[in-house]
């Protein structure tokens, strides 16, 4: 079974969100990395990019295919995980930790309420 930490928010497209003050750290879930397997490249968003909720913002590539990553909520990219440039497999080995992808400054912290909580995400992935 996939790991779904209780203290995070989730999207239908399998991103997770960790609220850190007025910022949101974003990655892809354990379930998503298990489906992708073998992450070999992560195209990181540029710092300063403004993005709407569900806007395409990054790309995660496995051996087999390229998958779009979406912004869970509206905001501005303030940091991208440069460690993934050298070691994209961190997305597989530590999806909720070292494998985070980017940090958004949230346009409105209230927006996280529209995301799934852990229970709802667990139900979504069966």
């Amino acid at each position: 079974m996939s790991n779904v930490p209780d203290d995070l928010f989730y999207t239908e497209s399998h991103e997770w969100v960790r609220v850190e003050g007025d910022k949101a750290r974003v990655g892809i879930t354990d379930h998503a990395q298990a489906e992708l397997t073998d992450v070999v490249y992560v195209e990181l968003p540029k710092v300063g990019t403004q993005v709407d909720a569900r806007g395409q913002i990054a790309v995660v590539e496995s051996v087999k295919a390229a998958s779009d990553i979406y912004a869970p909520i509206k905001g501005e990219v303030v940091e991208a995980n440069e460690a993934l440039s050298g070691n994209p497999a961190l997305v597989n080995t530590d999806p909720f930790g070292e494998g985070w992808i980017f940090i958004l400054k949230m346009a409105s912290p209230e927006d996280v309420k529209q995301l799934k909580d852990a229970a709802a995400y667990r139900q979504a992935i069966g």
Partner: protein
């Protein structure tokens, strides 16, 4: 690889794949395992130990009767006259424009009997084409439904078969085919493959598929054998620059452009597509299928990504992936002959950005 939405066919091993935790995808009209654990792990198992692939989806046609050899020599590019009984060769089935209908391996199973192992997605088309051109006295059968097969590939393949068939067992030589018996099942074993490693393709009745599959997994356990999916099959063959039908070989391409003239016998006076191939060989083809490697780190190339030379879009990627052995993006593309020189720099456009790549000699991977 080409994926069809109309997948409905199952190999006799479908439930075994599900049980082994495979991810299933539609491929050429079949539901096939793309991977069990990870493409990279399965790839490395084949390079370093041994891996088993279900190839039951591949077509198996038999042709027999008086005059079968001269007829096949008119239908196919290679020369079946060079085959002794038990011998096999890679060859092409072409249309009148010398376009590739299919690439296949043909074995002489008796003096006037041949086995054709063809691509899954082309089986019906091949059969219909051959049937249409069938002369009196030759019988053509599509045995695909009643037959199954496994590709068993990797440096430990001989060890595996000595465990299964006895320590005295000698596998047939490269491209040769021979019958063996395993627990009452007739195994037709051909020393061939699509990975660049030592290996075999084994054919047997579909009814025995589960038994043979389980035996191979069990006997192979101590050798580090892994079940492998189409994902690893694609990365392994692309490192060797073996073409994939539907991607690198299509009715719009011919064997000379694909760099596979070795499998075309122009000394044969009469076969479909001969005049066009003769001309392509004499004048040099207008384009060539080249192999390339990405220069430095970057996203892996994928089929249909645009290829640029000197600010001009000249082509698109026909096959591309990340090579697990080289840990680098690799691919193939048809390029105008003037741009196809080994060592030349090209650019691959990925999501609007151009990344440098270099044309390399085939194969892209060589065992050290």
């Amino acid at each position: 690889m080409p994926v069809s939405d109309a997948a409905s066919k199952f190999t006799p091993l479908y439930e075994e794949h599900r049980r082994a935790g495979a991810k299933i995808i539609p491929f050429g009209g079949w539901l096939m395992p793309v991977q069990y654990t990870s493409i990279s792990d399965e790839h490395q198992a084949v390079r370093n130990a041994v891996g088993v692939f279900d190839i039951s989806h591949m077509g198996q046609l038999t042709a027999s009767g008086a005059g079968v050899a001269p007829w096949l020599n008119r239908m196919l590019t290679n020369n079946v006259g060079k085959l002794e009984v038990g011998g096999g060769q890679y060859t092409f089935l072409l249309n009148e424009h010398a376009g590739i209908i299919d690439d296949l391996i043909i074995y002489r199973t008796a003096n006037e009997e041949f086995l054709l192992v063809v691509n899954a997605s082309r089986t019906e088309e091949d059969f219909a084409w051959l049937q249409k051109h069938l002369p009196d006295g030759v019988t053509l059968d599509n045995r695909s439904a009643e037959r199954a097969g496994l590709a068993i590939q990797g440096p430990k393949v001989v060890e595996l078969f000595q465990k299964m068939l006895g320590t005295e067992t000698t596998l047939p030589a490269r491209n040769q085919l021979q019958d063996f018996a395993y627990d009452g099942v007739k195994l037709t074993i051909a020393r061939t493959g699509y990975t660049g490693e030592d290996g075999v393709e084994v054919f047997f009745p579909a009814n025995d598929a589960v038994k043979i599959w389980r035996a191979v997994l069990e006997e192979g356990k101590s050798l580090g054998l892994k079940p492998c999916g189409l994902g690893a099959r694609d990365t392994l063959r692309l490192e060797m620059c073996y073409p994939l039908n539907g991607s690198d070989l299509t009715p719009e391409t011919n064997p000379i452009e694909a760099g596979l003239g070795f499998f075309v016998d122009l000394s044969k006076k009469d076969f479909t597509g001969r005049d066009i191939l003769q001309q392509a060989k004499e004048n040099g083809p207008a384009r060539k299928l080249v192999a390339f490697k990405m220069a430095g780190k970057g996203p892996p190339p994928r089929p249909h990504y645009p290829v640029w030379v000197n600010n001009e879009r000249v082509s698109e990627v026909s096959s591309g992936t990340l090579s697990p052995s080289l840990n680098q993006g690799i691919g193939m593309a048809y390029l105008p002959t003037a741009n196809a020189r080994i060592g030349s720099e090209i650019q691959i456009e990925i999501r609007g950005q151009k990344f440098p790549a270099v044309i390399e000699k085939k194969p892209l991977y060589k065992k050290s």
